[in-house]
């Protein structure tokens, strides 16, 4: 397939996944806020800072909103055009990339992404964000799931599908690491104990952001403990939003594209991905905490970015690309 098209499909998929994850984070924090306002001493505004931090757009946020309250954060994450990572911006770019490849993807996929785009542009969306952000985020998440389901059900699982698959999972691994890292930025209100009610609520919200609370409960009975949450979200081999699961899957797709077997590598992207894959398989949660959770997650993000660059070098760099990216 065309190099330019491979690149566009990859980014289309990343942006949809990113939109979904932003909706997840905002949605869960919205709920957490409700839990916390029932608790004394908790400062609701503080709850939103880590979200803005996780998007790495603090300066932009501060320049756009004089009062950084929940409303501002919701606007910033959902429909703010100036925020390159808002749901609006992500879906606009996803759709632009889809438009340049619309003869490669199935028409059902195109229609779904187009509908989602028309929705975030609509007055209905504006109104929902104002009056019922919860519903807005639900629609974005459901819209992304529908797109992914349509993709798997209507498109030949060949090279083009693999690029879409890699984009989705690489972005998911990255977003999951950021969701987990949000907890690092959250300060416990003074007087609160580690392992206390608020601490537990916060860890539960991390799980919820990844749709992982129920799955977690099935494995770990009893107290929600930080190291267990981190272990589950980073290292579980079967949970579809864990970092390890995502890396395993995109690694397989990389080999699928080149035809090399998974014990070897045919290019730099595969080498880096294979290495990350085996690290995640053999590391223990004790090692991670010894290293520092935040530091470890940052390293994961760097390594994912390196894989993304290597993928581009291997398959796409022989064309002069001007794809709509904003890494």
């Amino acid at each position: 397939m065309l190099s330019r098209v491979a690149d566009s499909l990859y980014w289309m998929s990343r942006y949809i996944e990113r939109a979904e994850n932003n909706a997840r984070i905002a949605d869960v924090n919205l709920q957490m806020l409700l839990d916390l306002t029932n608790q004394r001493e908790a400062d609701p505004n503080q709850q939103w800072d880590p979200i803005v931090s996780s998007l790495e757009e603090n300066e932009l946020f501060d320049s756009l909103y004089p009062t950084p309250d929940g409303k501002a954060v919701i606007d910033f994450v959902s429909l703010q055009k100036k925020n390159p990572n808002s749901i609006y911006s992500c879906l606009t770019r996803a759709r632009e990339n889809a438009r340049t490849t619309s003869e490669q993807i199935s028409s059902e996929m195109w229609e779904q992404i187009n509908r989602l785009y028309l929705f975030v542009k609509s007055d209905t969306a504006k109104k929902l964000v104002r009056t019922s952000p919860y519903e807005f985020f639900k629609r974005i998440i459901a819209g992304s799931h529908l797109f992914q389901g349509i993709t798997d059900a209507t498109m030949t699982h060949g090279e083009a599908w693999d690029f879409i698959h890699i984009g989705k999972l690489l972005e998911r691994a990255d977003c999951t690491s950021r969701i987990l890292d949000i907890k690092y930025h959250i300060l416990l209100p003074s007087g609160e104990k580690v392992g206390g009610v608020i601490d537990t609520i916060q860890w539960m919200s991390v799980l919820k952001s990844c749709s992982a609370l129920e799955a977690y409960r099935k494995i770990y009975v009893g107290q929600v403990a930080p190291w267990r949450v981190a272990e589950f979200i980073i290292m579980h081999s079967g949970f579809p939003r864990s970092i390890r699961f995502s890396v395993d899957c995109f690694d397989a797709s990389l080999h699928h594209i080149s035809g090399s077997d998974e014990a070897n590598f045919a290019n730099e992207a595969e080498r880096l991905s294979g290495r990350l894959r085996s690290d995640l398989a053999y590391i223990t949660i004790g090692d991670i905490f010894k290293f520092g959770l935040h530091e470890y997650l940052e390293r994961i993000q760097d390594r994912l970015a390196a894989i993304s660059r290597a993928l581009h070098e291997t398959y796409c760099a022989n064309s002069e690309l001007e794809t709509i990216t904003m890494d």
Binding site: S3, T100, E103, W110, E111, E159
Partner: protein, 487 residues
Amino acid sequence: MGDFFSGYQVGDFFDEMFAAPGEARPHYSKLFARFKEMDREEFERKRTLAASTFLSQGVTFTVYNDDQGTERIFPFDLLPRIIPAKEWEFVERGLVQRITALNLFLHDIYHSQNILRDGVIPKQIVWEAAHFRPEFMHFDVPRNVYIHICGTDLIRDKDGTYLVLEDNARCPSGVSYVIENRQTMKRTFPSLLGQYRVRPVEDYSQELLNVLRYIAPHAKSEPTVVLLTPGVYNSAYFEHSFLARSMGIEIVEGRDLVAQGGKVFMRTTKGHKQVDVIYRRINDDFLDPQVFRKDSGLGVPGVVEAYRDGNVSLANSIGTGIADDKAVYHFVPKMIRYYLGEDPLLPNVHTYLASVKEDLTYILEHIPDLVVKAVNESGGYGMLVGPQATKIECERFREKVKKNPRNYIAQPVVPLSRAPSFCDDSMQGRHVDLRPFILYGEKVTIIPGGLTRVALRAGSLVVNSSQGGGSKDTWILEEESGPNEGT
């Protein structure tokens, strides 16, 4: 009941549906009956369904009036235009005759130029034409076909006679709307479509692919065919991607292709892959900066050399613009007589050439009654509709014509036929034209029908989408077997 046609005015035009007020032509009677029993609410539902279908499928064109490039849907009118089998059969024969003559003309013009030597067409008309490509004299195009895809605009005068308004022999667009319009009608009026026996249009893409494969270099049996688009911001991008998708071929931009050693390749994830046939939706001027416009960033440097070497085929061929030059148009009936020895079946609209002295005088004197057109323009640009223009506009055109007579032609205003269209809450007569799409490969095939464009503004004669035009589905009926049906 909706009473859609209660206030309908047939007017002083040929009406596609009504022979006289309240009296539908036989081939429209079932449609008339259907609308009599339909209430407003049902019709509104269908309109909403149609609009949302187009929008969600992204069947849009880009309007360049702001920096964002707004996407609009092409307004779609739910009342189909119906053409009986016999009538269409005649039109089809006329179109085959015309495309055959145009192709012979192109071969002649790029070889021995007998038609000029025999004085049928004045030499300077051809030599001064902007789209004549003398660089391609004596070049043999694959399979000797020049125009593979042609969109010929037809109109009907007061008596209902079909006339050719212009030929589009470069990169005609609009065929995707023909197919999408039909899809929409299937969803909104399934039973009515079932009552009529309408000839399908869906196999256009297959026919087009057959043509493109037929012209492959060295008669290659499994050629790689691609569609070359100027890119996602082109107003017809939807159509490009629609056609590529329905043919199952790659859609490429200039930057995806590279010419090396007289061959053309596309840059793929598995390295360079040779391309055999390019369906290019880019005009000659932008095709190859080494040969034509140096500033073109849309084309592929070296593609023309590969074409000359016979390693890649282009559809349409380079230099076909001479055939749809509006001054050359005037001579098409003569061409038909010259090359085929036949009388033209589809007449032209009478045309005055500003380059001819008597005609120029006539044009300058009658400008407010005429339609004046620049010979190389299309899409409703560079033209003046005299009766609807201001004095100042007429004066400005008079100066332009005087300054560069070769560049202008003029035609009387033809009172285009009208078809009922839903405007301002009721059915009203609106002017229509018809663009059938003609494919020329191993044989000539014509899509049954074509794109009916409709000028939705009351009184307007300009059907272009940029000027408030919309479209209708066009139904060509199957030959009737029973004795009492049809016309």
